[in-house]
C-alpha cells in the first residue's frame, strides 16, 4: 500500500504542477457553472428539480474530465519512457494501478466538490434537503470512479495517449448508450442491457436523492472489473 500511496502522491503533484491539471479543473468548473446557470436554473422549477438538473450536468462533465485525464495515466509514462522507473522497481502491478487510480480519483473528487457552492445557492430562494445533495454527490463520485477505471484500463492497454483516449471514450460511449440498445431489445434481454447502462437509470436515482444499494453495487462492480482488467493488462505488458 505504501508504494501505491507513493505513486499516487507523485501523480497528484504532477497535476498541480502541469498546466493540464489546471486547465482540466478550470474547464470543468467553468462548464459546471455555466450549465448550472443556464440549464439547471433556467425557467420556473422546483428546487429539487434544479438540484437534479445540476447533478445531471455535473455527472457528464465529471465523466469527460475523468476520461481526459485518465488517458495519460499509463500511456503517457510509456510514451515518455518514465514507466521504466516503475517497471524496474520492486512494486506490484496492483500498487501501480492502485496508485494511479487514487491520484486521479482524489483530483476529480476534489474538483467536483469545488462545485458545492452551486447547490448551496439553491438555499437562497428555495429549499432542498442536505441528504439529497449528499446522495447526488455520492452518485457523481461513484460514476467518476467507474469512468477513471475505464480510462485507466484503456491507458494500460494502449501504446499511446491518443489510442488510450479513443479506446476509453469508445468503452464509455458504449456503456452510456446501452439504454438505447435496451429500447430495441425484447425482454428479458432489454432489462439486462438496461441494467448495464452506466448513466441513464443508475444516475437518475442519485440525482433525485434516492440512495439504492443496487446502484452502489453496480458502480463498485464496474470500477472493480476495469481496475482488475487494468492490473492484468499491466502485468502482461510489464513482464514479457
Amino acid at each position: 500500500m505504501r508504494n501505491a500511496l507513493l505513486i499516487a502522491g507523485r501523480e497528484l503533484r504532477s497535476y498541480l504542477r502541469s498546466p493540464l491539471g489546471w486547465i482540466v479543473a478550470s474547464a470543468m468548473l467553468l462548464l459546471d457553472g455555466l450549465l448550472f446557470q443556464v440549464g439547471a436554473m433556467g425557467g420556473a422549477k422546483l428546487s429539487a428539480q434544479v438540484l437534479a438538473d445540476f447533478f445531471y450536468y455535473a455527472s457528464g462533465i465529471t465523466m469527460i474530465g475523468a476520461i481526459a485525464l485518465s488517458m495519460r495515466l499509463i500511456a503517457h509514462e510509456r510514451e515518455k519512457g518514465t514507466l521504466v522507473l516503475i517497471n524496474t522497481a520492486p512494486i506490484r502491478d496492483w500498487e501501480i494501478i492502485g496508485g494511479k487510480f487514487i491520484a486521479l480519483f482524489t483530483f476529480i473528487v476534489g474538483v467536483t466538490l469545488l462545485t458545492a457552492y452551486m447547490p448551496a445557492l439553491i438555499f437562497v430562494n428555495g429549499k432542498v434537503s442536505v441528504a439529497h445533495i449528499l446522495v447526488g454527490y455520492g452518485g457523481i463520485v461513484l460514476l467518476a470512479a467507474a469512468a477513471i477505471s475505464i480510462g485507466l484500463f484503456a491507458s494500460a492497454f494502449a501504446r499511446t495517449q491518443v489510442i488510450a483516449a479513443v479506446l476509453g471514450a469508445a468503452i464509455l460511449g458504449v456503456m452510456l448508450l446501452l439504454w438505447m440498445a435496451a429500447k430495441v431489445a425484447d425482454p428479458p434481454v432489454s432489462s439486462f442491457v438496461l441494467a448495464l447502462a452506466l448513466h441513464h437509470e443508475r444516475q437518475r436515482a442519485f440525482m433525485n436523492g434516492v440512495l439504492r444499494l443496487d446502484n452502489v453495487v453496480y458502480y463498485v462492480a464496474v470500477t472493480y472489473f476495469f481496475l482488475l482488467a487494468a492490473i492484468k493488462t499491466m502485468e502482461a505488458r510489464r513482464w514479457r
Partner: protein, 334 residues
C-alpha cells in the same frame, strides 16, 4: 569471423551476474542468444555492439523489464523469472533515455526513486544527500529537471540507479550524446562507483568505454563474439597494427631507426609533421613493436613525447568483431 574469449571472470570472486544459454525472441525474430557469461563482484564490464546487436535487450532482461524466452539469468544467485522483485531491489538500471519526471526537482525525484525501491523516509533522505554528492548534483538538487542540461540529466539518471545501493548497476549507453568534457566526467563518475557496485555498461563505441571497463564483451547478432581486455583483444586481432610515435626533432633519424626494427612494414611522417620542434610518425608493423620502438629511440637519445596505438585501429578491432558479415559485404560494395 573470429571469436575470441580471453580473461574469463575471476573464479575466486563471487559472480553477481550468471547468464546461461539466454535467448530472447520478438515473435519469430531472435534478438539475443544463445548467450552465456558471468560477471564477478566489483567488476566493470563493457557490453559492446552495433545497433541491433542485442545489448539493450540483454540489459532489460537483467533489470527485470523483459522476460527471457529461455535460459537462465541469475543476479546475486536469484533467478530473474522466479524472483523478479528481489532482483529489482538489487539492480540499478539506467535506460538509454533516463526515466525522468520533468516537473519534479532533482531532490524530489531521487527521494521518490529511493522510496519506491523500499528505502524508509529517513534512509531515503540520507541516500539522496549521498548520491547528489557522489554524482556532483548538489548545485542543482533543487532545480526542476526540465531545466537541466543533457549532461546533468544523465547524472540524475545515474543517481536514481544507485540511490538504493544496488549490488548491480546496469547502464545503457550512459555516455551517448555527451560533450567531451561531460564524457570525461562521466567516465570518472563510473570509475568511482566501482567500490560499491558491480557495473555493466553498454555502448556502440569502443573508445567510449574501453578506458572505464575492466573487461569487454563484444556482441553481434545477439551472441558474444569476443571477450577480454582491450589490450588482449587488440594484441590478438591486430597482431601489430599501427602505432603513433611523437618525438622531438625533425624525425628523420627516428624514422631510420624505427624502419630498421624487425617486423616494421613502413614508417610515415604524419600530417602536420615537425610542428613546434616535434614530429609525429605512424608505424605500420606486422607485430606489436611498441617495446622495441621505445627501447630503440631511448638508446638513440631521441625524446619520446608519446607512443600509442592508433585509435583508428582500436575502433577497427571492434568493427571487425561486431559488424555482421552481411553489413561488411554491403559496405564493401558501397
Amino acid at each position: 569471423m573470429p571469436r575470441l574469449f580471453l580473461s574469463p571472470t575471476n573464479p575466486k570472486r563471487a559472480a553477481v551476474i550468471e547468464i546461461q544459454a539466454l535467448t530472447k525472441y520478438y515473435g519469430d525474430r531472435k534478438a539475443v542468444g544463445p548467450l552465456s557469461f558471468s560477471i564477478a563482484k566489483g567488476e566493470i564490464v563493457g557490453l559492446l555492439g552495433l545497433n541491433g546487436a542485442g545489448k539493450t535487450t540483454t540489459l532489460r532482461i537483467l533489470a527485470c523489464d523483459l522476460l527471457p524466452s529461455s535460459g537462465s539469468v541469475r543476479v546475486d544467485g536469484l533467478d530473474v523469472v522466479d524472483n523478479p522483485d528481489d532482483v529489482r531491489a538489487r539492480v540499478g538500471y539506467l535506460p538509454d533515455h533516463p526515466p525522468l519526471y520533468d516537473e519534479m526537482t532533482v531532490a524530489e525525484y531521487l527521494l521518490f526513486a529511493a522510496k519506491i525501491r523500499g528505502l524508509s523516509g529517513a534512509e531515503a533522505r540520507k541516500r539522496v544527500d549521498e548520491v547528489t554528492s557522489a554524482t556532483a548534483l548538489r548545485s542543482v538538487r533543487d532545480d526542476v529537471i526540465s531545466t537541466l542540461s543533457h549532461g546533468f540529466r544523465q547524472r540524475v539518471g545515474i543517481a536514481q540507479a544507485i540511490v538504493h545501493k544496488p549490488q548491480l548497476l546496469v547502464l545503457d549507453e550512459p555516455i551517448s550524446g555527451l560533450d567531451p568534457v561531460q564524457i570525461v566526467e562521466m567516465r570518472e563518475l563510473v570509475r568511482n562507483l566501482r567500490h560499491e557496485h558491480t557495473t555493466l555498461i553498454s555502448s556502440h563505441f569502443l573508445s567510449e568505454i574501453s578506458e572505464t571497463c575492466d573487461r569487454l564483451l563484444v556482441l553481434r547478432d545477439g551472441e558474444i563474439v569476443a571477450s577480454g581486455t582491450e589490450e588482449e583483444l587488440s594484441t590478438r586481432l591486430l597482431e601489430g597494427g599501427s602505432i603513433i610515435v611523437t618525438v622531438r626533432g625533425d624525425g628523420a633519424h627516428a624514422k631510420r631507426l624505427l624502419s630498421s626494427i624487425k617486423g616494421v612494414r613502413s614508417v610515415e611522417v604524419g600530417d602536420g609533421a615537425h610542428r613546434g620542434g616535434v614530429t609525429t610518425l605512424r608505424i605500420d608493423a606486422e607485430r606489436d613493436i611498441r617495446e622495441d620502438a621505445c627501447r630503440t629511440l631511448v638508446l638513440a637519445d631521441i625524446g619520446i613525447l608519446e607512443l600509442t596505438r592508433s585509435e583508428r585501429e582500436l575502433e577497427s578491432i571492434f568493427l571487425t568483431l561486431a559488424r555482421p558479415e552481411g553489413r561488411a559485404e554491403n559496405g564493401a560494395r558501397a
